[in-house]
Amino acid sequence: MSVEKLTIAKAINASLRTALETDPKVLIMGEDVGKLGGVFRVTDGLQKDFGEDRVIDTPLAESGIVGTAIGLALRGYRPVVEIQFDGFVFPAYDQIVTQLAKMHARALGKVKLPVVIRIPYGGAIGAVEHHSESPEALFAHVAGLKIVTPSNSADAYWMMQQAIQSDDPVIYFEPKRRYHDRAEVDTAAIPGPLHAARTVREGTDLTLVAYGPMVKTCLEAAAAAAEEGKSLEVVDLRSVSPIDFDAIQRSVEKTRRLVVVHEAPVFFGSGAEIAARITERCFYHLEAPVLRVGGYHAPYPPSRLEDEYLPGLDRVLDSVDRALAY
């Protein structure tokens, strides 16, 4: 039987295991990914079963991790690199932006860098500073990277398979607050395209676009709105670069209203790009401006404030009401 109920964390683990089994070139690298199995246990048991040569505890240096992963990829390996928390990706930012993203173009396609960078991201876990951020926009602006983020176990499994198979560098953002959400995974299914959005709830009055941890929040918002007689469609973006604008457009042409929700700060966030492009595409369809719900222009706050900082049900519904009021 290939259908199993798995948490998101376990689904990623299973996917990494499958990759290690089927492709001898796949490597796992990062801080504490080996014996400990990662601080979230996402790589649990992999070093034990595949050895230190394939599941590599690295020195504590993110630029070094990504930089050596690039070298390993040049040698024909397919490294899957873990950044321990969102806020610790920045020491590697230079390697990601100036090397990983650009080398394929620099070489006119003559080298490929199939590197996956796993980043547990987002808040709501009561953590200290740097452990709750959502930096996806800082990567999406950079050409040469692909950015995906699953919201459920099946996607977690399959999108990791596809990310590893991709010949492009992929940043794979893991919604850490949802690691323990459990759902069915069919490991024998035929997955859809990696960068296609998915409508996870149909509706007619307004479209909610979200990805990663906010998909569940939006589904809850849609359920709550339904009780008030409002029919919200929820689109799980799944990919932040490229963005499946066609799917959003189709939905908005139907609902004529759009609210984009993410944890990252609104200013220069994904919502801006979506609002700008969908407004251009759907100018005559939109009954209301595209509204955005996200973090504020402030460092991620101390955890006792994160409930206020993060978009929750109420803030989503507040924006829905505002959009419907146009």
Partner: protein, 381 residues
């Protein structure tokens, strides 16, 4: 309290095999002034001469720090803190180095320097705010010249170096001490700090607590030679000190700070110690290390060691120990009470302090949020 401040300039090699330079088979030498059994030994390069009161003071510092630390761990288990990073086992490294600093020196800690904070006069309850989640750092760094905890590994080594460059520009004779761990030694920022410190001959002491572990990774994952040797290649001296020997740490750190303040530039101290507990309360060390290792190091416990010395030399009586026990209890109670009473920050605090001079967007978002919150109040009305 006297420390031979010129000592550090002498060659490290010259001390090999002599009394006080402890060296296990295959292990590099190590400055030691107090054996694990509490016996005073001499070291050719580093000497120290403390009064009984000073010795008891160091003991008190370590005991209170450990008690505070244990209380914080308990508070985390009780849900009062979100996380705690215990210094258990590293008391000598922290108290020894912390007590070596002068008031006008400046300290750049990691997230584990609770003992150093204690020496600097930071109220321990202030350290708990960030672990409780009510702030990201609850003290004024300039009040005690003790910078905020830095979580991004290695960053503060550069801040310390820049600060030290500023001291040199001012012509002041203060010094800076930058703490970091064995894991942090791999970060590019630490290497760049070494480069800047050397090139500008900045008065900064790099204090690496090699507690053998970076979460689950042993030091072999960061280096294949002892970390104190790193300094040579950048053109300044490095020394390994027994990090569980508060006297040796004090002597070596004081020498290094004095060296820095007299214009001799940076120095690297590797305090060889051991993280006796988990990395943080979120960590489960049984997954990656064996109990025997911990037991081995318990025999080198920094507090027991100084206690043995005090007792052996008759420098402290039962009354002292009993008084300290009460003082510990009182501290623990104060910490407990203070933490429990720590209020959650006001929601509007999110919009404060992002900028010193304000920012239009923050103003706009603050107003929107206030209106949004007010809308609930209206609904309830």
């Amino acid at each position: 309290m006297t420390v031979d401040s010129t000592a550090a300039r002498k060659s490290r090699r010259s001390g090999a095999k002599r009394a006080g330079a402890k060296k296990a088979a295959g292990e590099p030498e190590l400055v030691q002034l107090l054996t694990p059994e509490g016996e005073r030994v001499e070291h050719p390069d580093y000497s120290i001469d403390l009064s009984p009161e000073e010795l008891r003071g160091l003991y008190r510092d370590m005991v209170l720090t450990r008690r505070f630390d244990g209380e914080a761990t308990t508070l985390q288990r009780q849900g009062e803190l979100g996380l705690w990073a215990s210094l258990l086992g590293q008391e000598a490294a922290q108290i020894g180095s912390g007590r070596a600093t002068r008031d006008d020196d400046y300290v750049f800690p990691t997230y584990r320097e609770h003992g150093v904070a204690w020496c600097r006069g930071v109220d321990p309850t202030n350290l708990l705010g960030m672990f409780r989640g009510v702030n990201h750092g609850g003290w004024d760094p300039n009040e005690n010249n003790f910078h905020l905890y830095t979580i991004v590994i290695g960053s503060q080594a550069l801040h310390a170096t820049g600060y030290a460059m500023g001291i040199a520009k001012d012509g002041a004779d203060s010094a800076v001490i930058a703490y970091f761990g064995d894991g942090a030694s791999s970060q590019g920022d630490v290497a760049e700090a070494f480069t800047f410190a050397a090139v500008y001959n900045a008065p900064v002491v790099f204090f690496c607590q090699n507690n053998q572990w970076a979460i689950s990774e042993p030091t072999e994952k960061q280096t294949r030679v002892p970390l104190y040797q790193r300094a040579q290649g950048y053109g300044f001296p490095g020394v390994r000190v027994d990090g569980n020997d508060v006297l040796a740490v004090l002597a070596v750190t004081k020498a290094a700070l004095d060296r820095a303040r007299t214009g001799e530039g940076p120095m690297l101290i590797e305090a060889f110690t051991y993280r006796m507990g988990a990395h943080t309360t979120s960590d489960d060390p049984t997954r990656y290390r064996r109990d025997e290792e911990r037991e081995l190091w318990e025999a080198k416990d920094p507090i027991l060691r100084l206690r043995a010395h005090l007792e052996r030399e008759g420098l402290a009586d039962e009354e002292f120990f009993a008084a300290l026990e009460s003082e510990s209890d009182a501290l623990a109670k104060r910490v407990r009470d203070t933490v429990r009473a720590m209020p959650d920050p006001d929601h509007m605090a999110m919009f404060e302090h992002t900028y010193a001079d304000g920012h239009a967007l923050v103003d706009e978002e603050r107003a929107q949020f206030a209106a949004y919150q007010a809308s609930f109040a209206e609904e309830t009305n």
